[in-house]
Symmetry: C2
Amino acid sequence: MGRVAASKRRVTIEDIAARAGVSIGAVSFALNGRKGVSEETRARILRVADELGWAPAGAARSLAEAKTNTIGLVLARDPMNLGLESFYMQFFAGIESELSPRGYGLLLQVVPDLERELETLRLWRNGRRVDGVVLVDIRQDDPRVSYLAEHPGLPTLVVGDPAFAGPHASVWTDDAAASREAVRVLAGLGHRRIARIAGLEELAHTRIRDDAFLDELAAVGIEGEIFRTDYSAEQGAAATTAALGSVHPPTAFVYDNDIMTVAGMSAITQLGLRVPEDVSVIAWDDSVLCRHTVPTLSAMSHDVIAFGAHVARRLFEVVAGAEASAHLDSTPRLQARGSTAPPPSTG
Amino acid sequence: MGRVAASKRRVTIEDIAARAGVSIGAVSFALNGRKGVSEETRARILRVADELGWAPAGAARSLAEAKTNTIGLVLARDPMNLGLESFYMQFFAGIESELSPRGYGLLLQVVPDLERELETLRLWRNGRRVDGVVLVDIRQDDPRVSYLAEHPGLPTLVVGDPAFAGPHASVWTDDAAASREAVRVLAGLGHRRIARIAGLEELAHTRIRDDAFLDELAAVGIEGEIFRTDYSAEQGAAATTAALGSVHPPTAFVYDNDIMTVAGMSAITQLGLRVPEDVSVIAWDDSVLCRHTVPTLSAMSHDVIAFGAHVARRLFEVVAGAEASAHLDSTPRLQARGSTAPPPSTG
DNA sequence: TCGCTCAGCTTAAGCGCTTCAGATTCGAGA
DNA sequence: TCTCGAATCTGAAGCGCTTAAGCTGAGCGA
């Protein structure tokens, strides 16, 4: 009976202390690898801890140390559209690859809108639920950026251009350069009219890509147009159809994600045009998908797993007290595949 | 100065108590909506708490209540292949939809292999890091199932067939019925030889789908074969090519996920065959992708977000102390689109 | 008037850990 | 032989909260 009751109770360092014949302080020292106990005692304590199947009580440790060993990430997205974004799962995996070795966990929250995201951040900050947060999908004048700036105390890492990161540390990709490369390559193939099927206008990187796109069009002396979408396959297809129905249809498209590219390509085909003979297309996020469509998709390629790992490392620097700074990740490069070619020779 | 110092310190219920002129006990009662304080006092306390921007300290609450308000989920997957699975992001979103309203968080961990997953579970259990766990990608004789069965105390919800859930609660889809439906529909169209491009053999549902597939083939009196893959696009394409190169090539394929379907379709096209005129294909997980390929993909369709929500609800029942039981989620149904048709008439 | 109940509030004991100010021991230097 | 300091270990406070138990005074029946 006593044994059952004992096995029910959670094993604490007090149990270890009793069994090893030392004080709980000594146990704490031993378990945390700090000096203050002899190697002999330490070994004995560790053995006992192992025998008892002890594991640190996260809550108690958090309370005493005033740290939680977790990193938070809130995502304000419509769940319906979330599945398509191959980006996030890989991004998480990259983050995790840095968290696990440090014994950190990732607290994830998916909320329907920005307001709830802000509310979550407020709770996490005031309640010390996480040691740091990663902010994604940054907007222009992002309320999360300003909230965390005005209420310091929660180490923050912004995923996006430093121009929108306020006083926080950031890790960013040079989307402007990438956007220009796409235009340049298409112009080099001979295209004279390019459509950009862009994502949500509110997102900061959309504007950055837009500006660079228009800029480079002017620089190389060709025409182009931007179509606005919500990243969905439907709007991607619709924008494509609209563009091709105009008086001066483009001969090339640059899409802001991979799913719109697939949908757009299908729209192009339905209009009786061929990819890449009649129309070229470039996807933004590269994914396995791009390698297996017919034709294969030329895409702006980026190592998202490494990107996530980079983000995590920089956040840990901030958590450790480092000065906030901006860090440029590798620039997405065009991975040319079967969906890009010279335009049909003008008759 | 005093003000700065004060604003640096975290706001505790003690601060609220002092400001409201009551004891911390009263504050606790008020904040948790328990009786023990008058409505008038409660209102005052809530107002003060709001003014001070107080939020509960998760760690302290966890320690006192012996609960963490978080649910854990470990994923043992190669990060590289993770991005493609539209399944998980939607699944998470579904889970979240039930967690958020309850003030629960989702602790996510992505690890490279099953052994590390087991290690994580051990830590979570012994350290009381989570109130419950969701087990996905269940295998035959899954060590996680047996570990948690032999070391009770961590409420567990198995996502998968109850036959593999041990003593734990489970939420499952009738993959056998779905597998049979796929065969039946293809047979109904006139196909006499079907290939199933299956996923990882270790996973319990793979075997279930296999058995049902073979069973139904026999029932309707047609032929078929199973090809084993690791869910990757590469192996999906390779298996497709291999099948079509055999002496008696199949006229229809059933793939175990959507990404292999896309890759397989591309392999079929490269062999000079057309979908669906020469070969029919069915994808397992339905996704936006399936609606936008050319041709559109017929798929075994399932509401994954609702599935995730269902899983979360059942886990909460277990956490609340309910008896473990198995719950059948809706059965995936064939969503017929453009990739299925009668086979070419035999010459 | 007395005694009782009960709402409303206070007190204090935990929850399991870290940490820091001592206490104790032991060996080396003077 | 005595002193001092380093090494090792103990004791207790404290992290912010919940909650059982205790206290107080008002209201009420007898």
